[in-house]
Amino acid sequence: MPLLPRLYNLAQWLTRDRAEAEDLVQETYLKALRGFASFQPGTNIRAWMYKILRNTFLTSRTGLKTSMTVSLDDEENPVAEPASAQTPESLLLARADQQAIENALDQLPVKFREIILLCDIEEMSYREIADALAVPVGTVMSRLSRARRAMRDILAVQIEGGSR
């Protein structure tokens, strides 16, 4: 079960609840086995499994609640200049510790958190992320850019708030 720790990690980041994450992973494995005939050899099994996990999450009670309560900005619109633009990034990060990054990830809307996890933790390519999320590559790039800016903003607020 080499994928289990990674899938579980993603599931808990999505649900933010241990029991729900366990149910989500279990259902993902059962669905993957059931639908294994539809798996195309040569495609990325990690992205395929994540797609199942994500679809299962979106139809779960928490997933439905999340998709109803979190509104995502229009991804085609230009990205607004972030409040933290004046803070040099390396200076900001020099003051950020692992806990601050975890907190920032926790505070992100689920769609932003998800894309950062897929790109930075899972190290999926933009093409693989586009397949997993069923969106064009251009949307992956703009959503990722927004997500990172949002994360920097949260970090900036945390660090500035903490140093006051």
Binding site: Q26, Y29, I121
Partner: protein
């Protein structure tokens, strides 16, 4: 502040999404532009920090075990019920012709015995559903809703939850233990799902009304190749199905106890 044409490429640069030529051009710009270089460095640091912070949730060992058991059981159930080849290799012309001939032969047979095939297919589907329920129950942290070894506690628990009633056997002088039960659904019909144990093996007994419309065949499944042993019969308008990885003799013994209880 960073330079517009380049700053848009910085995310793709740290994510290794740029082509060789684009990387070369960007890096020659970074050598001359301290602002963009600092931005790129910051993004890289952020990515590294996120990588370190993001892997914070690990599955509990007992959950890992539960998943492994569940997947293993599901695989066995799949190999039992799947009767179509799952080859993903592209079909050659010869293979395609053979496949078409085979399909034509199957079709002729199917036309001759369509009703039989339909019944068989529905039965396979129903058994798959029940096997899935059995596997999911074994994998669940809360396999039953009423936990009791006492049949006089378990049977009344179903009152008002099911449109029928049934008798449970006295297990005192048998190797079986009753663990508990829950309500299960097959084709939208509610039924009883009872969990028994014999020498560490779990047995699930399903009881549905016969008019649930699922054409089961009576009797035990005899093949030794089956991952699970199944026995099913109809008694007093109720359909009983036992599914377990326990020995066939154990499954049969439990069926005898349930049959005797139904007559009492």
């Amino acid at each position: 502040m960073t330079c517009d044409p380049w700053s848009n490429k910085l995310d793709a640069y740290v994510d290794s999404e740029l082509s060789g030529e684009e990387v070369e051009n960007l890096e020659s710009h970074l050598r001359m532009c301290s602002s963009c270089a600092a931005d790129a460095l910051g993004r890289l640091q952020m990515k590294r920090l996120t990588q370190a912070a993001g892997m914070r949730h690990a599955p509990a060992p007992e959950f890992r075990l539960r998943i492994e058991q569940s997947v293993h059981a599901q695989k066995r159930a799949r190999s039992w019920f799947s009767w179509l080849p799952l080859s993903s290799a592209p079909p050659s012309r010869l293979r395609l012709t053979s496949a078409l001939l085979a399909a034509a032969a199957v079709l002729v047979l199917m036309v001759g015995s369509f009703d039989l095939w339909l019944q068989h297919s529905q039965r396979e589907h129903a058994l798959t559903e029940l096997a899935d329920l059995h596997v999911a129950t074994l994998a669940s942290a809360t396999p039953v809703d009423v936990i009791s070894t006492d049949r006089h506690t378990v049977k009344p628990w179903f009152a008002g939850k099911l449109p029928f009633t049934f008798n449970l056997p006295e297990l005192q002088n048998s190797p079986f233990t009753l663990i508990g039960g829950r309500v299960a659904y097959l084709e939208h019909f509610p039924g009883a799902q009872l969990l028994f144990e014999v020498r560490k093996h779990r047995l699930t007994v399903f009881i549905f009304q016969d008019q649930a419309g699922v054409p089961f065949l009576d009797g035990p499944t005899n093949s030794r190749e089956l991952a699970f042993n199944v026995e099913t019969w109809s008694e007093g308008g109720l359909r009983y199905v036992i599914i377990s990885d326990a020995a066939r003799a154990d499954v049969h013994d439990l069926s005898q106890l349930l049959r005797a209880a139904a007559h009492s």
